[in-house]
Symmetry: C2
Subunit: 195 residues, 2 copies
Protein backbone atom coordinates (compact mmCIF):
# COMPACT_ATOMS: atom_id res chain seq x y z
CA UNK A 1 0.00 0.00 0.00
CA UNK A 2 1.78 3.10 -1.21
CA UNK A 3 -1.00 5.25 0.26
CA UNK A 4 -0.34 6.46 3.80
CA UNK A 5 -3.02 5.45 6.25
CA UNK A 6 -5.59 8.13 5.68
CA UNK A 7 -6.96 8.05 9.19
CA UNK A 8 -3.51 8.77 10.57
CA UNK A 9 -2.99 11.47 8.00
CA UNK A 10 -6.18 13.19 9.06
CA UNK A 11 -5.10 12.99 12.68
CA UNK A 12 -1.74 14.55 11.89
CA UNK A 13 -3.30 17.37 9.95
CA UNK A 14 -5.94 18.01 12.59
CA UNK A 15 -3.40 17.99 15.40
CA UNK A 16 -1.34 20.61 13.59
CA UNK A 17 -4.30 22.84 12.94
CA UNK A 18 -5.69 22.55 16.45
CA UNK A 19 -2.32 23.73 17.71
CA UNK A 20 -2.12 26.59 15.22
CA UNK A 21 -5.60 28.03 15.51
CA UNK A 22 -7.20 26.33 18.48
CA UNK A 23 -9.73 23.52 18.44
CA UNK A 24 -12.88 25.59 18.16
CA UNK A 25 -11.33 27.83 15.52
CA UNK A 26 -10.47 24.87 13.31
CA UNK A 27 -13.32 23.75 11.09
CA UNK A 28 -13.85 20.28 9.69
CA UNK A 29 -13.78 21.88 6.26
CA UNK A 30 -10.29 23.22 6.90
CA UNK A 31 -9.10 19.87 8.16
CA UNK A 32 -10.49 18.19 5.07
CA UNK A 33 -8.95 20.77 2.76
CA UNK A 34 -5.46 20.32 4.16
CA UNK A 35 -5.86 16.54 4.21
CA UNK A 36 -6.92 16.65 0.56
CA UNK A 37 -10.50 15.47 0.95
CA UNK A 38 -13.87 17.11 1.52
CA UNK A 39 -15.26 17.62 4.97
CA UNK A 40 -18.01 15.10 4.48
CA UNK A 41 -15.50 12.35 3.85
CA UNK A 42 -13.97 12.86 7.28
CA UNK A 43 -17.06 11.26 8.72
CA UNK A 44 -16.11 8.00 7.11
CA UNK A 45 -13.21 7.83 9.58
CA UNK A 46 -14.53 9.70 12.58
CA UNK A 47 -18.00 10.04 14.00
CA UNK A 48 -17.50 13.66 15.00
CA UNK A 49 -15.00 16.45 15.33
CA UNK A 50 -14.86 15.60 19.01
CA UNK A 51 -13.64 12.13 18.12
CA UNK A 52 -10.67 13.60 16.32
CA UNK A 53 -9.73 15.74 19.28
CA UNK A 54 -10.09 12.74 21.53
CA UNK A 55 -7.86 10.55 19.40
CA UNK A 56 -5.11 13.16 19.53
CA UNK A 57 -5.29 13.78 23.26
CA UNK A 58 -5.81 10.34 24.73
CA UNK A 59 -2.77 9.14 22.84
CA UNK A 60 -0.71 12.02 24.23
CA UNK A 61 -1.81 11.41 27.81
CA UNK A 62 -0.94 7.73 27.69
CA UNK A 63 2.54 8.37 26.31
CA UNK A 64 3.41 11.12 28.75
CA UNK A 65 2.19 9.27 31.83
CA UNK A 66 4.13 6.19 30.79
CA UNK A 67 7.34 8.13 30.41
CA UNK A 68 6.96 9.99 33.69
CA UNK A 69 6.30 6.69 35.40
CA UNK A 70 9.55 5.32 34.00
CA UNK A 71 11.61 8.22 35.28
CA UNK A 72 9.88 8.25 38.66
CA UNK A 73 10.62 4.54 39.06
CA UNK A 74 14.35 4.82 38.59
CA UNK A 75 16.31 3.94 41.70
CA UNK A 76 19.65 5.23 40.48
CA UNK A 77 18.73 8.88 40.85
CA UNK A 78 18.61 10.96 43.99
CA UNK A 79 15.65 13.37 44.37
CA UNK A 80 17.44 16.35 42.87
CA UNK A 81 18.56 14.35 39.87
CA UNK A 82 15.10 12.94 39.46
CA UNK A 83 13.55 16.40 39.37
CA UNK A 84 16.17 17.31 36.81
CA UNK A 85 15.33 14.38 34.55
CA UNK A 86 11.61 14.95 34.89
CA UNK A 87 12.03 18.59 34.00
CA UNK A 88 14.09 17.63 30.98
CA UNK A 89 11.35 15.32 29.87
CA UNK A 90 8.69 17.93 30.58
CA UNK A 91 10.47 20.53 28.47
CA UNK A 92 11.12 18.00 25.72
CA UNK A 93 7.37 17.73 25.17
CA UNK A 94 7.57 21.18 23.64
CA UNK A 95 9.36 19.78 20.61
CA UNK A 96 8.24 16.15 20.75
CA UNK A 97 4.52 16.69 21.23
CA UNK A 98 4.12 20.33 20.34
CA UNK A 99 0.60 20.21 19.06
CA UNK A 100 -0.91 18.01 21.74
CA UNK A 101 0.80 20.02 24.47
CA UNK A 102 -0.56 23.27 23.11
CA UNK A 103 -4.06 21.87 22.94
CA UNK A 104 -3.98 20.40 26.43
CA UNK A 105 -2.45 23.51 27.89
CA UNK A 106 -4.50 26.11 26.11
CA UNK A 107 -7.85 24.46 25.92
CA UNK A 108 -8.20 21.85 28.63
CA UNK A 109 -10.28 24.30 30.66
CA UNK A 110 -12.76 24.46 27.83
CA UNK A 111 -12.51 20.83 26.85
CA UNK A 112 -13.24 19.38 30.27
CA UNK A 113 -16.69 20.94 30.22
CA UNK A 114 -17.37 18.00 27.95
CA UNK A 115 -17.59 14.87 30.08
CA UNK A 116 -15.75 12.78 27.53
CA UNK A 117 -12.57 14.73 28.22
CA UNK A 118 -12.69 14.13 31.94
CA UNK A 119 -9.55 12.04 31.65
CA UNK A 120 -7.62 15.26 31.17
CA UNK A 121 -8.28 16.06 34.82
CA UNK A 122 -7.01 12.65 35.91
CA UNK A 123 -3.98 13.14 33.71
CA UNK A 124 -3.19 16.45 35.36
CA UNK A 125 -3.47 14.97 38.82
CA UNK A 126 -1.36 11.95 37.94
CA UNK A 127 1.46 14.10 36.64
CA UNK A 128 1.22 16.36 39.66
CA UNK A 129 1.56 13.35 41.95
CA UNK A 130 4.71 12.19 40.18
CA UNK A 131 6.34 15.53 40.89
CA UNK A 132 5.09 16.13 44.41
CA UNK A 133 6.17 12.62 45.40
CA UNK A 134 9.72 13.37 44.39
CA UNK A 135 9.69 16.66 46.26
CA UNK A 136 8.30 15.00 49.36
CA UNK A 137 10.83 12.18 49.20
CA UNK A 138 13.54 14.77 48.82
CA UNK A 139 12.44 16.46 52.01
CA UNK A 140 12.32 13.16 53.87
CA UNK A 141 15.79 12.35 52.63
CA UNK A 142 17.03 15.70 53.90
CA UNK A 143 17.95 16.79 50.39
CA UNK A 144 15.43 19.60 50.13
CA UNK A 145 14.52 22.25 52.67
CA UNK A 146 11.85 21.00 55.01
CA UNK A 147 9.57 24.01 54.62
CA UNK A 148 8.96 23.74 50.88
CA UNK A 149 5.46 23.42 49.48
CA UNK A 150 5.59 20.51 46.98
CA UNK A 151 2.33 21.38 45.27
CA UNK A 152 3.25 25.00 44.80
CA UNK A 153 6.72 24.11 43.58
CA UNK A 154 5.23 21.71 41.09
CA UNK A 155 2.88 24.33 39.79
CA UNK A 156 5.61 26.89 39.37
CA UNK A 157 7.66 24.34 37.50
CA UNK A 158 4.79 23.09 35.37
CA UNK A 159 3.63 26.56 34.42
CA UNK A 160 7.15 27.59 33.50
CA UNK A 161 7.48 24.43 31.41
CA UNK A 162 4.26 24.54 29.49
CA UNK A 163 4.43 28.32 29.26
CA UNK A 164 7.67 27.96 27.37
CA UNK A 165 5.74 26.58 24.44
CA UNK A 166 4.61 30.11 23.70
CA UNK A 167 8.09 31.51 23.30
CA UNK A 168 10.42 28.61 22.55
CA UNK A 169 11.78 28.50 19.02
CA UNK A 170 13.62 25.23 18.31
CA UNK A 171 15.84 26.52 15.54
CA UNK A 172 17.68 29.19 17.45
CA UNK A 173 19.16 29.43 20.90
CA UNK A 174 19.02 26.82 23.60
CA UNK A 175 17.74 23.26 23.35
CA UNK A 176 14.89 22.24 25.61
CA UNK A 177 17.43 20.32 27.69
CA UNK A 178 19.43 23.46 28.20
CA UNK A 179 16.34 25.38 29.23
CA UNK A 180 15.43 22.62 31.65
CA UNK A 181 18.94 22.72 33.05
CA UNK A 182 18.70 26.46 33.64
CA UNK A 183 15.30 26.14 35.24
CA UNK A 184 16.35 23.32 37.54
CA UNK A 185 19.48 25.21 38.46
CA UNK A 186 17.40 28.16 39.63
CA UNK A 187 15.00 25.84 41.38
CA UNK A 188 17.52 23.67 43.21
CA UNK A 189 19.63 26.40 44.64
CA UNK A 190 16.45 27.69 46.16
CA UNK A 191 15.22 24.46 47.61
CA UNK A 192 18.33 22.45 48.41
CA UNK A 193 18.94 22.24 52.13
CA UNK A 194 21.99 24.22 53.20
CA UNK A 195 25.04 22.14 53.73
Amino acid sequence: MPMVDRKQQILDVAKEMFAERGVSQTTVRQIGARAGILSGSLYHYFESKSDIVDAVLSDFCKTVLGNYWQIASRTDLDPAEKVHQMARYGFSLITEHTAALIIVHRESNELIRDRRFGYLVDFDQEVERRYTDVFTRGVEAGRFKSDIDPRMLYRFLRDAMVGAIRWYVPSKGASTDQIADTMVDVLLYGILADN
Copy 2:
Protein backbone atom coordinates in the same frame (compact mmCIF):
# COMPACT_ATOMS: atom_id res chain seq x y z
CA MET B 1 -29.66 58.70 37.58
CA PRO B 2 -30.45 55.64 39.67
CA MET B 3 -29.61 53.42 36.67
CA VAL B 4 -26.04 52.22 36.52
CA ASP B 5 -24.28 53.19 33.34
CA ARG B 6 -25.47 50.49 31.00
CA LYS B 7 -22.39 50.56 28.83
CA GLN B 8 -20.23 49.86 31.86
CA GLN B 9 -22.62 47.17 32.99
CA ILE B 10 -22.34 45.42 29.64
CA LEU B 11 -18.57 45.62 29.84
CA ASP B 12 -18.53 44.09 33.30
CA VAL B 13 -20.80 41.27 32.26
CA ALA B 14 -18.87 40.60 29.07
CA LYS B 15 -15.54 40.62 30.88
CA GLU B 16 -16.80 38.01 33.32
CA MET B 17 -18.15 35.77 30.62
CA PHE B 18 -15.07 36.05 28.43
CA ALA B 19 -13.05 34.85 31.40
CA GLU B 20 -15.42 32.01 32.18
CA ARG B 21 -15.95 30.58 28.74
CA GLY B 22 -13.46 32.25 26.48
CA VAL B 23 -14.10 35.06 24.03
CA SER B 24 -15.15 33.00 21.04
CA GLN B 25 -17.34 30.76 23.18
CA THR B 26 -19.26 33.72 24.55
CA THR B 27 -22.12 34.85 22.35
CA VAL B 28 -23.63 38.30 22.18
CA ARG B 29 -26.93 36.66 23.08
CA GLN B 30 -25.45 35.38 26.32
CA ILE B 31 -23.94 38.75 27.11
CA GLY B 32 -27.27 40.41 26.48
CA ALA B 33 -29.14 37.86 28.57
CA ARG B 34 -26.94 38.33 31.60
CA ALA B 35 -26.99 42.08 31.18
CA GLY B 36 -30.77 42.01 31.03
CA ILE B 37 -31.26 43.14 27.44
CA LEU B 38 -31.52 41.48 24.07
CA SER B 39 -28.50 40.93 21.88
CA GLY B 40 -29.64 43.41 19.29
CA SER B 41 -29.63 46.20 21.83
CA LEU B 42 -25.94 45.71 22.53
CA TYR B 43 -25.29 47.27 19.17
CA HIS B 44 -26.60 50.54 20.42
CA TYR B 45 -23.51 50.73 22.68
CA PHE B 46 -20.89 48.84 20.70
CA GLU B 47 -20.36 48.49 16.99
CA SER B 48 -19.25 44.86 17.26
CA LYS B 49 -18.33 42.10 19.64
CA SER B 50 -14.72 42.94 18.90
CA ASP B 51 -15.32 46.43 20.26
CA ILE B 52 -16.36 44.97 23.60
CA VAL B 53 -13.24 42.83 23.81
CA ASP B 54 -11.14 45.82 22.90
CA ALA B 55 -12.66 48.02 25.58
CA VAL B 56 -11.89 45.42 28.23
CA LEU B 57 -8.31 44.78 27.17
CA SER B 58 -7.00 48.22 26.31
CA ASP B 59 -8.10 49.40 29.72
CA PHE B 60 -6.27 46.53 31.40
CA CYS B 61 -3.04 47.13 29.50
CA LYS B 62 -2.96 50.80 30.37
CA THR B 63 -3.48 50.16 34.07
CA VAL B 64 -0.90 47.41 34.34
CA LEU B 65 1.81 49.24 32.45
CA GLY B 66 1.24 52.31 34.58
CA ASN B 67 1.63 50.37 37.79
CA TYR B 68 4.74 48.50 36.64
CA TRP B 69 6.23 51.79 35.63
CA GLN B 70 5.63 53.16 39.11
CA ILE B 71 7.34 50.25 40.81
CA ALA B 72 10.23 50.20 38.37
CA SER B 73 10.81 53.90 38.98
CA ARG B 74 11.21 53.62 42.72
CA THR B 75 14.68 54.50 43.93
CA ASP B 76 14.28 53.19 47.46
CA LEU B 77 14.40 49.53 46.45
CA ASP B 78 17.43 47.44 45.60
CA PRO B 79 17.11 45.04 42.63
CA ALA B 80 16.04 42.05 44.72
CA GLU B 81 13.39 44.08 46.51
CA LYS B 82 12.19 45.50 43.23
CA VAL B 83 11.74 42.04 41.74
CA HIS B 84 9.86 41.13 44.87
CA GLN B 85 7.49 44.06 44.59
CA MET B 86 6.95 43.52 40.89
CA ALA B 87 6.16 39.86 41.48
CA ARG B 88 3.70 40.82 44.20
CA TYR B 89 2.00 43.16 41.80
CA GLY B 90 2.07 40.55 39.05
CA PHE B 91 0.42 37.97 41.25
CA SER B 92 -2.10 40.49 42.54
CA LEU B 93 -3.50 40.80 39.03
CA ILE B 94 -4.97 37.35 39.56
CA THR B 95 -7.48 38.74 42.02
CA GLU B 96 -7.57 42.37 40.90
CA HIS B 97 -7.99 41.87 37.18
CA THR B 98 -8.97 38.22 36.98
CA ALA B 99 -11.05 38.37 33.86
CA ALA B 100 -8.77 40.56 31.78
CA LEU B 101 -5.72 38.54 32.79
CA ILE B 102 -7.37 35.30 31.78
CA ILE B 103 -8.35 36.70 28.42
CA VAL B 104 -4.93 38.15 27.68
CA HIS B 105 -3.15 35.04 28.84
CA ARG B 106 -5.38 32.44 27.28
CA GLU B 107 -6.36 34.09 24.06
CA SER B 108 -3.82 36.70 23.08
CA ASN B 109 -2.33 34.27 20.57
CA GLU B 110 -5.66 34.10 18.83
CA LEU B 111 -6.54 37.73 19.32
CA ILE B 112 -3.39 39.18 17.80
CA ARG B 113 -4.25 37.61 14.47
CA ASP B 114 -6.61 40.56 14.34
CA ARG B 115 -4.59 43.69 13.62
CA ARG B 116 -6.64 45.76 16.00
CA PHE B 117 -5.21 43.83 18.94
CA GLY B 118 -1.62 44.41 17.94
CA TYR B 119 -1.15 46.50 21.06
CA LEU B 120 -1.15 43.28 23.05
CA VAL B 121 2.24 42.46 21.56
CA ASP B 122 3.60 45.86 22.54
CA PHE B 123 2.17 45.37 26.00
CA ASP B 124 3.96 42.05 26.39
CA GLN B 125 7.26 43.52 25.30
CA GLU B 126 6.90 46.54 27.57
CA VAL B 127 6.30 44.38 30.62
CA GLU B 128 9.19 42.13 29.68
CA ARG B 129 11.47 45.12 29.49
CA ARG B 130 10.50 46.26 32.97
CA TYR B 131 11.56 42.93 34.39
CA THR B 132 14.70 42.31 32.37
CA ASP B 133 15.91 45.82 33.18
CA VAL B 134 15.75 45.05 36.87
CA PHE B 135 17.56 41.75 36.41
CA THR B 136 20.25 43.40 34.34
CA ARG B 137 20.69 46.21 36.85
CA GLY B 138 20.95 43.61 39.57
CA VAL B 139 23.79 41.93 37.75
CA GLU B 140 25.58 45.24 37.21
CA ALA B 141 25.18 46.04 40.88
CA GLY B 142 26.69 42.67 41.78
CA ARG B 143 23.50 41.60 43.49
CA PHE B 144 22.64 38.78 41.06
CA LYS B 145 24.89 36.12 39.59
CA SER B 146 26.57 37.39 36.46
CA ASP B 147 25.65 34.40 34.31
CA ILE B 148 21.86 34.68 34.61
CA ASP B 149 19.69 35.02 31.51
CA PRO B 150 17.32 37.92 32.24
CA ARG B 151 14.90 37.08 29.45
CA MET B 152 14.61 33.45 30.45
CA LEU B 153 14.22 34.33 34.10
CA TYR B 154 11.47 36.76 33.25
CA ARG B 155 9.68 34.14 31.22
CA PHE B 156 9.87 31.58 33.99
CA LEU B 157 8.54 34.13 36.42
CA ARG B 158 5.81 35.39 34.14
CA ASP B 159 4.60 31.93 33.20
CA ALA B 160 4.51 30.90 36.85
CA MET B 161 2.58 34.08 37.64
CA VAL B 162 -0.04 33.98 34.95
CA GLY B 163 -0.24 30.20 35.17
CA ALA B 164 -1.34 30.56 38.76
CA ILE B 165 -4.62 31.96 37.55
CA ARG B 166 -5.62 28.43 36.63
CA TRP B 167 -5.21 27.03 40.10
CA TYR B 168 -5.37 29.92 42.55
CA VAL B 169 -8.51 30.03 44.68
CA PRO B 170 -8.75 33.29 46.65
CA SER B 171 -10.96 31.99 49.43
CA LYS B 172 -8.70 29.29 50.75
CA GLY B 173 -5.01 29.05 51.41
CA ALA B 174 -2.39 31.67 50.68
CA SER B 175 -2.90 35.22 49.51
CA THR B 176 -1.37 36.24 46.22
CA ASP B 177 1.25 38.15 48.20
CA GLN B 178 2.21 34.98 50.02
CA ILE B 179 2.50 33.08 46.77
CA ALA B 180 4.65 35.83 45.32
CA ASP B 181 6.82 35.71 48.43
CA THR B 182 7.32 31.97 48.05
CA MET B 183 8.09 32.30 44.37
CA VAL B 184 10.59 35.09 44.87
CA ASP B 185 12.20 33.19 47.71
CA VAL B 186 12.85 30.25 45.39
CA LEU B 187 14.01 32.55 42.66
CA LEU B 188 16.37 34.72 44.72
CA TYR B 189 18.25 31.96 46.42
CA GLY B 190 19.03 30.71 42.97
CA ILE B 191 20.14 33.95 41.45
CA LEU B 192 21.62 35.98 44.29
CA ALA B 193 25.38 36.17 44.06
CA ASP B 194 27.09 34.23 46.83
CA ASN B 195 28.27 36.35 49.68
